[in-house]
């Protein structure tokens, strides 16, 4: 239900397009099917982003046929608009998760998250997904004494589990990133970067090749009980299935399943990509090829693409349906990190909606049983 006094945005109505920059380097979207008539499937999946398509692919590996219904194009939501880092962390620390979820559940979640990049890079390799993959680690700078303490604790935690995570001193950090801003940083070699649009299209193509049915531009309109399970109606056609997966995240239509939309807070995220740097700057800035984030609370990501462009995650209005990133703030931050770089010209800009939850954890709900 949308409140009147302080209404939250409704991302399904946001027409802002898929990032043109990622489109440049992504293979075309796979050909999808048109949903016609009344069909049956083992599983219906609503939402053609990472979760929906990964579910379809993993089901196909088990010989289970699914029909994926995506309201717009493949990866329309945050799946194509993300920063493109593959990270082995969650928002909360392992200690916090243990307090929230209990030791056993938290342990399973933290362990799986730590191996998350292996899963993603494994799928990329297994299915030959072309998505500009670079796996040479992630750098996290300590922007404050408290941040340094956090990084040390995180590094010790993962080192104790045998993960390839190391602290870097100031000179090593500067050697890899070109900034003297940080007294120390950590390098986590499990992570890396991808072109998120290319990755989500690769998931779709792989799922289709293994028997899944993917229908783009097919907004699911109604979900109701039916003989044989559930009926999902879309564009005058329908699919009946014993199992329905709703994987729409921030783009959830709250009227599709009462209450589901109310568990999410759609928040706008902004990305900027510059014109290519000149050769001297390329040789100096982020020369190790790792993306750089730090321990500040908001928007610290900087990465350099293979074509020499700087890509940043940016701050901006959180809930506005039509809004611009705080570009001056980005420029000030980059000047702080890389003095002498000069003002950058931002050639590509895009936004998308991230689905936050009230406890900042990802959630899996079982909405009903047959």
């Amino acid at each position: 239900m949308r409140t009147r006094l302080f209404p939250l945005p409704f991302p399904p109505e946001d027409p802002s397009p898929i990032p043109a920059y990622f489109e440049t380097f992504a293979p075309p979207a796979p050909v999808t099917e048109k949903l016609e008539g009344d069909r049956h499937a083992d599983v219906v999946i609503v939402g053609g982003g990472y979760t929906g398509l990964s579910t379809a692919l993993h089901l196909a590996e088990r010989g289970i046929h699914s029909v994926v219904l995506e309201a717009r194009d493949i990866g329309w939501g945050e799946s194509s608009r993300a920063f493109g880092q593959v990270v082995p962390y969650l928002k909360h620390s392992p200690e916090h998760l243990a307090r929230q979820l209990g030791h056993e559940v938290a342990e399973r979640l933290v362990d799986a998250t730590g191996r998350g990049p292996d899963l993603v890079f494994g799928l990329i390799e297994k299915y030959g997904i072309e998505c500009s993959v670079v796996r040479n680690g992630l750098i996290f700078g300590a922007h404050s004494p408290a941040g340094l303490k956090t990084l040390h604790a995180r590094t010790r935690f993962w080192q104790a589990r045998g993960a390839p995570v190391d602290m870097l001193d100031a000179s090593r950090t500067e050697a890899l990133t070109g900034t003297r801003y940080y007294h120390a940083a950590s390098l986590d070699r499990r992570g890396g970067t991808i072109n998120p649009l290319a990755y989500v299209r690769g998931l779709a193509r792989s799922a289709i090749e293994r028997g899944a049915t993917v229908c783009a531009r097919t907004p699911a309109m109604r979900l109701m009980r039916a003989a044989g399970g559930w009926r999902v109606e879309a564009l005058g056609a329908s699919v009946v299935s014993p199992v329905v997966v709703l994987a729409t995240n921030a783009y959830t239509n709250g009227e599709f399943w009462p209450g589901l939309g109310e568990t999410l807070i759609p928040m706008r995220a902004y990305q900027l990509v510059s014109r290519p740097l000149d050769e001297p700057a390329r040789a100096r800035i982020l020369r190790g090829g790792q993306p750089l984030t730090d321990t500040r609370r908001l928007f610290s990501g900087v990465r350099r693409h293979a074509d020499g462009r700087i890509h940043v995650s940016a701050d901006g209005p959180v809930f506005d349906m039509s809004a611009e990133a705080h570009v001056n703030k980005v420029n000030r931050r980059l000047a702080m990190l890389f003095p002498g770089l000069g003002p950058l010209e931002w050639e590509y800009r895009w936004t998308g909606w991230v689905g936050m939850t009230y406890d900042l954890n990802a959630h899996l709900h079982e909405l009903a049983r047959q």
Partner: protein, 62 residues
């Protein structure tokens, strides 16, 4: 991870094997004031980050 989990569960896997635990669908009691609350929180984080940057510059200068 969630896609792999969902597929395993649909294929008959147990709840105990899920990385993400199944949680009940609960609406928040602060839903109606989420927008101003989050805006305040984000502004607080912005000011904390700005303060950290200020202290960082001061430490560097000294």
């Amino acid at each position: 991870m969630m896609g792999r989990d969902l597929a395993a569960r649909i294929a008959g896997g147990s709840d105990a094997a899920l990385c993400f635990p199944l949680t009940p669908l609960q609406s928040s009691r602060i839903r109606s004031i989420t927008r101003p609350l989050v805006e305040c929180l984000v502004n607080y984080y912005r000011s904390r980050d700005a303060f950290d940057d200020f202290r960082h510059r001061r430490r560097r200068a000294s």
